[in-house]
Symmetry: C2
Subunit: 170 residues, 2 copies
Amino acid sequence: MSLPLSDEAKVEVDAIVETIIYLYTESRRLTKQAARELGLTGPQLTVIKLLETFGDLSLSSLSERIRAQNSTVTGIIDRMEREGLVSRERSTSDRRVVYIRLTTKGAQLAKSIEVEPMEIMYGVLAGLNREDTRDLLRILGKLQKRVRALVKEREALGPIDEKKKAVGEP
Amino acid sequence: MSLPLSDEAKVEVDAIVETIIYLYTESRRLTKQAARELGLTGPQLTVIKLLETFGDLSLSSLSERIRAQNSTVTGIIDRMEREGLVSRERSTSDRRVVYIRLTTKGAQLAKSIEVEPMEIMYGVLAGLNREDTRDLLRILGKLQKRVRALVKEREALGPIDEKKKAVGEP
DNA sequence: TCTGGATAATTCGCACACGAAGTATTCGCG
DNA sequence: CGCGAATACTTCGTGTGCGAATTATCCAGA
């Protein structure tokens, strides 16, 4: 798995990882802070913006978009429903599906929000020159492609290993 | 805050943000998965590796390194202590300070771990050519610098705004 | 020396976040 | 048709993760 790295390369890789973590956590922190001023949490702000943009969404598609498990989103929606921001509407065509809909209160709140989730990222990225933007996108794209390939590969191997593992304290 | 972006630029910025989020969450997920096989959680794996690398660390310095609040780390250490992986040692020179130390069991476990936290990132980044690595580092560095400046700026303004806000449901 | 402010940890309450197990419903296929 | 697999969501238990309040300790300056 871990290719041998020269010391110099290792330092650079470290710095890159550090920076990515920094950018991610910091922009999350700032989003959360913005949400706070509206009496919302970070994920709640994201959900409201998504619903405003796309209209009603099933719980599953919401989960996909915010990259979380259904069980997590169930909880988020529970709390938002309790606050009167959204309502659950059972689909008539497929009674397993629940659509999440903004209430009037939720829609009003959504309209009053000018900040995008990850807004800080946007602002900072917009300050890059064209060339840097292109390069960054290109390189990150490469990385993503490789990670995807790697994950796929692991998933293919995983199930076989599954039996070898069986760790667990007896 | 949000500079006007051309549509084309907006798409690219979106893609960059998407990718950064993807890389971060995916590598976290994979680290967590690796930890699982050892009966650990993600943060616990990170803590064990840090303690192995740096020796005993105060709870505060541990918090800094894993970018979390003291209160969070207190909980992580509580559970690790319960599992017999680490112990708390009150400093004699400053009795407010608590050092976290690997137990024999913890040290053994640490030795048996070959994966680095964020190992997948490393593997993938190591696959980039020199030029791409340099470019990526340079551009991310720029971004980080700007975010830092922005955060600082906000912090400077924040306290003044503090009174204007006072939202809160009555 | 004594006291007020800073610092290190902890406690508490809340909100994610995940995975496993459970429920309801739909769908595919014989 | 009917039944077993798949899908959508919920529930439950555990582990972060944060911020405010608390406790214990240190330290600088009157």
